[in-house]
Each structure stands twice: as C-alpha cells, then as structure tokens.
C-alpha cells in the first residue's frame, strides 16, 4: 500500500439520498451554505450585548474591536469569524468530504452562538439583551441562524463518506509532520485548560468562555475528522509508532512551559494523571477482561493508605518511613494481594452479580476505613500531614529552576505522574498484545468458548484483578503524597462510578480513551465551578445519555465499536485492503 497518488476524489461517488424533509432544500445547498457562512461572519462582527457586562469579553454595542480580547485565541468572535470565512470558501471550492466539514463547522457555530447568547440573555434578564432595537445587538441571533443554515445546507444534499487519504512521504517529513501535530495538540490542550481563566468571584464568565471555546474546538476537530486528516495522522503515527510515543511523551512533559504551567493547573493535571492511571488499570479489568468492577477505587485507597502509613506522617500507625520508590512498589504489591483476594470468590459469578459482589467489597473497604480498622486508616480524622515526595534532596513541593527557567511548584509532581502514566500505559499495551491479553479478551467475549479453547479462566481472571489492582495501588501511592491527606471519603462508591464512567466515556479497552475520559471528568468540574451544585445531577444524566446515544465512548476500540454501535458503510467509506478489520468493512 505504498501508492503516492491521491485516491479519486470523493464526489465521484454519488452521495446517498437525503431524508425527505431535507430533499426540498437539495437544489439550494450552495446558496444555503454561503448564506450561512456570511451570516456567521456578520454575527462575529455585530455587537452581542446591549449593555456592559462588567467589561468582560462582551463589550457593549461595540462592533469592530478586532484586536482586543474578543478576538484573542480563545475569543469567540475570532472563532466565528474564522468559521464564517472557512464556510464560504469551502462552499465554493470542491473540497473532498465538504458536506461533513461544513456540518461540523455549522454545529460549532451553533454551539458558540447558543452558549454565549444564552449566557448574555440569562445575565441580562431576558432575550432583550441580545435583540434590542437600539444598538443593533443581534450578533447572537445572526450567528445562530448562520450556523443552522450551514448545517441544513451541508446535509441537504446528502453526505459523502469521510475521505481516506493514502499519502505517504519520506520518513523525516512524516516525523516533522508528527512533531508539528503534537505541538499543536499541546497548544490546544493548554488553551482548553486556561480558557476563561480560573472561576472565581472576580471572573464570573469563566464557565461561559470555556464552554464556548469547547464548542469551537469541537467544531474544529469535527471538521478535521470530516476531512479525513485526523485519520491520516493516525495512520502516519501508526507507521512510526515508537517515534509518536516518544514525541507524545515529550510534549506532555512540555506542558509546564505553556500557559498552563502555573501551580493550580499543575495540581489539576496531577490529579487527572492519578485518575487516568487508575482508569487504565480499571480498563484492564473492565475493558479487556470484561469483569465489571464497581468497587475498584478501593484499590486506589489501599495503595494510598499503605503509602500514608509508611511515609513518616505523624498520624500513621506504623512509624517506619521508607523511601518513596520502595513505598510505591509496596503499595502496588499489597493492593495486588487484595485484588487477588477480591477476585477469588468471584470466579463463579458473572455479569450483574459480579458487579454487585465487587460493589460489596468496595463498600466493605469504605466502612472499614471509616471505622479505622486496625488503626491504619485514621477513621474520620484521616491521615493528614503526609510529607511531600523527596528525591535527590528536592522536595517535590518546591519550585524548581531548570537552566534559568523558573518552574512553578508542583511541576515535579506533574512530571512524575506523567512518567507513571506512561509506565502504566506501557504495561497495558504490552499486556493487551500478549497471550494473557488475548486470553482476557477471549474470556470477555465468551467465557465458555474460551474455556473450551483451553484457557484456564480461573487463574486468568484472578490475574486480571491482581494486575489491575496493582496499577491502582501504584497510583494510590502517588495520590497519598500529592494530596498530603488520605481519608476514606475519597474512596466511596461514587468515585468508583466516576472511574467507571471515565473508562466508558472515553471508550473501553483503549488507552487514549481512559485518559480522555479521566481528563473530561476532572477538567469540567474545575472549569464549570458555578454549576458545582448540579455537578452530580448532570453527571447522572450524562451517564444515561452516553449509554443511550454513544455507548462505545469517544475513542472506541475496534471490537467495541462493532459490538455496541454498528455503523453503516456511508460513515467511513471503503476501508483500504491491508487494514486488519476487513471483516468489519464488509459487514453492515
């Protein structure tokens, strides 16, 4: 598959017929699209609010403030302007896959318009805030209508499949492309984290700015996916897997150098890292072996309490202080032992009942910890005052100087957790492609058939629990030192549900899925502080909606995608021969 020519452009294939409601609009698609793009552009330039909102990002009645905050990188006007111009250009030029690109852009515009318009309307006391006659504040309405027109115009003519690009360049050029791509990804992540700033009394718009930025980013990513570029980059990084992994690791380590490099975000990132590592461990149990574990956070807790007791904290029952790397290994081992203990009775139990048994074990752990069993957990007083990790004489809490650059305190913890997550990912990837991993997948798919094939399901299921628990214990040791206090409160049933939700939301059985899920579930509450009272309610609703509409998660495993959401061929187009899942290509 080393052709250097482009495949024939997609429009050679007739697009599938549109639904009957949209068929009436089919002849006018180009007009609709251009109109949509123009309206979006106009909306970007019009004022959006009829009054001054504390001089935030919504200046009153202003029109052409091109170079102030609204047009900063995270400014919604810039996003709308770019979307509008892009839409007009794509509507006129026959770019492959343009219907889907325009649809993605349209939805992005709608999202930005709705978020900002709603916010201004709510703050301003009603729709009058965005539609007043004096001072023409129609920006929100114009953008919304523009977005809707774009979506209609994009889909009215039917959707062609996402184009598949088979370009191949010489190795160094592809390496350069990968470096650039991951560099841009780093900047995107940094922008997502810092958009809107930190929510606080002085900065009440942070939630709205963040959501608007997310909407625009979503539209951008959707457009890139629709153009087939994301899939192509994926293929390129598959070709140079080792290099991609190294570059990804380096870019992750460079996050402290970007705008998100202050102590606050480093702490958030470290917490995400802990839960991402735990989620990857859970992915082994749930994603690979199919053993639904509702008490998994207990292993994180066991690791944390072990580390707390051996850390030399004043409140720890065992007065021994061990060096941190030893403690990490010890925590992993003890958690692993408990994992095996939990796994053993479950061998005869399947499905829902397994979930309940693991839930019961999780609850036993919480209750025992709450009652300070053996004096090891501190009960309601927890174990406070755990000293920070200290390696080579540097306490990880301090700010550090690297070659003249002053890094914020907490950067060292961040670097450590990135390395831990990388190690956990490595373990997971190796396991998944080993005999053991294949045995787990076989058990997940059909345990009886696996047994008939000679797989000893009992010991292998226990191994799944054991290894999963070890990874969680590993992360737990870090968690204890980072948060300096370990209490039973952090390990309740709800946390298990959240971890499971992270794995499912991200996509079961995939590493990027687990990390993405953990990130989303930890960044969102931080950024949307004003909704913190509704956080759990929205979380519950989100679980229901995800299982209803996208049970395979955001980054699905190939098996899961086929199992949970069989797509039609129209979505992905013909898969080129030589790819592993030709069976799937001919299915549906």
């Amino acid at each position: 598959m080393s052709t250097l020519e482009k495949p024939p452009p997609a429009p050679a294939m007739p697009p599938p017929a549109p639904s009957s409601r949209l068929a009436a609009l089919a002849p006018h698609t180009t007009v609709l699209r251009i109109a949509g793009g123009l309206l979006t552009l106009v909306g970007a330039l019009l004022p959006w609010a009829t009054f001054v909102l504390n001089e935030g990002p919504y200046p009153e009645k202003s029109t052409l403030e091109f170079f102030s905050a609204p047009f900063a990188v995270t400014g919604f006007r810039l996003h709308l302007a770019v979307f509008g111009i892009a839409a007009i250009v794509i509507a006129l030029v026959a770019v492959p896959g343009r219907e889907r690109i325009l649809r993605a852009i349209g939805w992005g515009v709608v999202a930005v318009a709705v978020v900002n318009g709603l916010y201004i309307a709510v703050e301003g006391g009603g729709l009058g805030a965005i539609t007043a006659a004096d001072g023409v504040a129609f920006g929100a309405v114009a953008a919304l209508v523009g977005g809707v027109l774009l979506v209609l115009g994009a889909t009215a003519g039917g959707l062609t499949p996402v184009p598949v690009w088979t370009w191949q360049f010489n190795r160094y050029l592809e390496w350069l492309i990968l470096v650039v791509t991951y560099g841009l990804l780093l900047l995107l992540v940094s922008a997502v984290l810092t958009s809107g700033g930190r929510g606080s009394a002085a900065n009440v718009y942070s939630g709205a700015v963040f959501l608007s930025f997310l909407g625009a980013a979503g539209g951008l990513l959707g457009a890139l996916h629709a153009s087939g570029l994301l899939a192509w980059i994926g293929a390129v990084s598959e070709r140079h897997r080792l290099f991609s992994v190294i570059v990804l690791l380096v870019t992750a380590l460079l996050l402290p150098l970007t705008g998100a490099g202050n102590e606050y975000w480093m702490t958030v990132a470290a917490n995400i890292g802990v839960y991402a590592a735990t989620a990857i461990g859970l992915n082994i149990v749930v994603g690979l072996a199919g053993l639904l574990d509702l008490g998994y956070v207990a292993f994180l807790g066991i690791g944390a309490f072990v580390a707390a007791n051996f850390s030399g904290a004043a409140a720890s029952r065992i007065g021994i202080e061990l060096p941190f790397p030893v403690v990490m290994v010890l925590a992993a081992v003890i958690a692993g032992i408990f994992g095996a203990i939990v796994g053993s009775p479950t061998l005869r139990v399947r499905g829902d009942y397994l979930a309940i048994v693991t839930l019961a074990f999780g609850e036993i752990f919480v209750r025992s910890a709450q009652n300070n069993i053996g004096g090891l957990t501190g009960g309601s007083n927890a174990i406070p005052g755990i000293p920070p990790v200290s390696l080579f004489g540097t306490e990880f809490n301090d700010a550090v100087q690297v070659g003249g650059l002053e890094l914020a305190p907490g950067v060292l913890y961040y670097v450590l957790i990135v390395l831990i997550v990388a190690a956990v990912m490595l373990v997971f990837a190796n396991l998944k492609n080993s005999r053991l991993g294949r045995a787990w997948i076989a058990i997940r798919e059909d345990e009886d058939a696996a047994r008939a094939m000679g797989i000893r399901t009992g010991p292998i299921k226990i191994l799944a629990f054991l290894i999963g628990a070890m990874l969680a214990g590993f992360a737990g040791a870090f968690f204890a030192h980072k948060t300096a206090t370990v209490s039973y409160e952090s390990f309740r049933f709800l946390e298990s549900v959240t971890l499971l939700a992270a794995v499912i939301l991200g996509g079961m059985g995939t590493i990027p899925g687990a990390v993405l899920g953990a990130s989303i579930l930890f960044v969102l509450p931080e950024k949307l502080r004003e909704f913190s009272d509704y956080r759990l309610l929205l979380f519950g609703l989100a679980l229901i909606l995800i299982m209803r509409f996208r049970p395979q998660g955001l980054v699905p495993d190939r098996h899961r995608r086929a199992e949970l959401a069989p797509e039609t061929d129209a979505e992905t187009g013909p898969i080129p021969a030589g790819d592993g899942d030709t069976a799937k290509a001919s299915a549906s």
């Binding site: 009775p345 019961a360 609850e363 009652n371 499971l500 979380f539 519950g540």
Partner: protein, 309 residues
C-alpha cells in the same frame, strides 16, 4: 439481657419487612427483564419524599392531625410519585436499551440512581440534611407481653402488617390472575409470550408499576416509623433489599419476603452481638451477600440453574 435480644429481634423484623417490600420490586424486575434496577432504592426514597410533600404542602391542617385521613392520602401520594418515576425510568432509560449488551442498562441504572438522588437533593427544599417526617399512625409503643415487655412502635407494627399483606396480595395476583400469568410467561420466555398474544411492553410496565407502588408505600411507612428521611436512605436500603432478593432467590416473591426478614435480623442482631458493633452492621450484610452469591447463587427459593452471564 433477654429483653435486649427480643427488642433487637423486633427491630430486625420491622426493618426486615420494609426491606422485603423493596426487595419485591428488585426481584420482579430482575425476573422479567434480567436487569438489576440500581435505581429502585431511589424510587423508595422518592416515594417517601413524595408523601412528605403531599403532607407538607397539600394537606389542610385539620387533615394533618387526623391520621386516619392523612395516612391513606400519604400512601396514595407516595405510591403515585414512585410509580410515576418508575414508569418514566422504564420508558426513557431502560426500554431503548432492551437489546443492548448487559453493561449498558447497568450503567444507565447507576446514572439514574445518581441523577434521582441529586435531583431530590437540589430541588426539594431542605433535602441536603435529614428532614423530619410526621407521625402518620397511632403514636406510641405497644409492649409485647414477653418477659418484661418488648416495645414495638405502632408505626412499626403497621409496617410489618402492611408489608406482609401486600406481599401475600402480590403472590396471589401473580398466581391467580390473568395479568399475573402473563408476567410469569414473559419472565420465562419473552418471545414465546409474544406469540401467545401477550404484549411484553405492557407487562414490563406493569412490573415497574407494581414494584414502584410497593416501594412508595414502603417509603411513606418507613418515614412514619423513623420520623425522618434523608436522600441516602434509598442507596443503603436498596443494597440491603437487593441482598435480600438474592438471598431469597431472585424472581421469587416468597424469597424476597423471607430474605428481607433474614437481612433485617442479621443487621440488628449482628450489630448488637458481632464484633465491631453497629458500625460494622453493613459489613456483615455485605459478607452475607458475597457468601450467597458465591456458594448458593440461587438463594433459598430459586431454581438451581447457573447464574447467567
């Protein structure tokens, strides 16, 4: 000494009959659609809050003071709210996932449970802490004439009597009525039942209605017994009820009642006499659950078939 034992037995039986009421809902739903409805405990909780809302906001004062007027209205209100939530849950959360792999409805049930708990906490005034629940029956305690006299609140006695009556009524309904036969058929083999002219969707809705009504009634009575309710009561009692349903044999009405009484007794007697005291009473229940699922998954009255994956 002996009177402590007896009073703990009485406590256990009262709690056990409540757990049996909730367990009936779990066992019926699992029997019909093989789904552990994690949110069933929340239906119980919502029923209690529904009854309280009726009492606090809708009843005129003179009715509030006459228990024989207030009680039936509260029971109806609690059952109605619980049934409404249960039917909505079935219609919007579970029915679309009828043919999905087992993980999906389970996670959805978890989501519904969290969402319901939080919805009550956020939207019901004062629900962030425990709310007092009024006396809705004859106040006071009856001393059972054993030994020095074993106290049992009249509201507790009401709870036991109502639970047993409802359970017997449910068993008769399932055994003798047409709809009951339809339920049994649907739980055995849904497709053949459809061939026989039974609409499985209606049967499933009826199952949720019955389970919800029982849980709602239980919620109101429990509130009247303890004189306060809080949003956690659903989760805790739900786990106990599920354990009871499994212990008794999932799918069996008698099993749910017997299992409920057993669990109630374990909780109160275990909390009194086993090491660790009442702080560990939950732990003993979980140990029982694990033991049952590992050693005798079919429970007391279930059939000896392997637990299906």
């Amino acid at each position: 000494m002996l009177s402590t034992l007896f009073s703990q037995i009485v406590n256990g039986l009262v709690l056990g009959s409540l757990i049996g009421l909730i367990a009936l809902g779990y066992t019926m739903v699992y029997g019909i659609i093989q789904l552990i409805n994690f949110a069933h405990g929340e239906i119980f909780m919502v029923g209690a809050y529904g009854g309280l809302a009726m009492f606090t906001y809708l009843l005129p004062t003179f009715v509030q003071q006459q228990w024989y007027l207030a009680l039936p209205l509260l029971l109806i209100a609690g059952a109605a709210v619980a049934v409404g939530v249960a039917v909505a849950m079935e219609r919007f959360a579970y029915r679309p996932l009828r043919n999905a792999p087992r993980l999906a409805p389970l996670i959805t049930a978890l989501g519904v449970s969290v969402a319901l708990q939080e919805a009550v906490r956020v939207f019901y005034p004062g629900a962030t802490a425990a709310i007092p629940f009024p006396d809705i029956f004859v106040p006071g305690t009856w001393m059972i004439p054993i030994g020095d006299g074993v106290p049992i609140k009249y509201s507790g006695l009401l709870l036991v009597v109502v639970s047993l009556t409802l359970a017997i009524g449910l068993q008769l309904f399932i055994d003798r009525s047409r709809m009951g036969r339809a339920m049994r058929a649907t739980s055995q083999d849904r497709d053949v039942a459809r061939l026989m002219g039974i609409d499985p969707d209606r049967v499933i809705v009826l199952t949720f209605v019955l389970g919800g009504a029982l849980a709602g009634v239980g919620g109101v009575l429990y509130g009247g017994y303890l004189n306060n309710i809080n949003i956690d009561m659903g989760f805790q009692n739900g786990i106990f009820a599920f354990t009871a349903a499994v212990l008794g044999g999932i799918g069996s009405v008698r099993g749910a009642v017997v299992g409920g009484l057993t669990i109630g007794l374990i909780k109160s007697l275990g909390g009194q006499y086993l090491p660790g005291g009442s702080a560990y009473d939950y732990v003993w229940i979980f140990v029982v659950l694990i033991a049952v699922l590992v050693f005798r998954p079919q429970g007391f009255f279930g059939e000896t078939e392997r637990v299906r994956a």
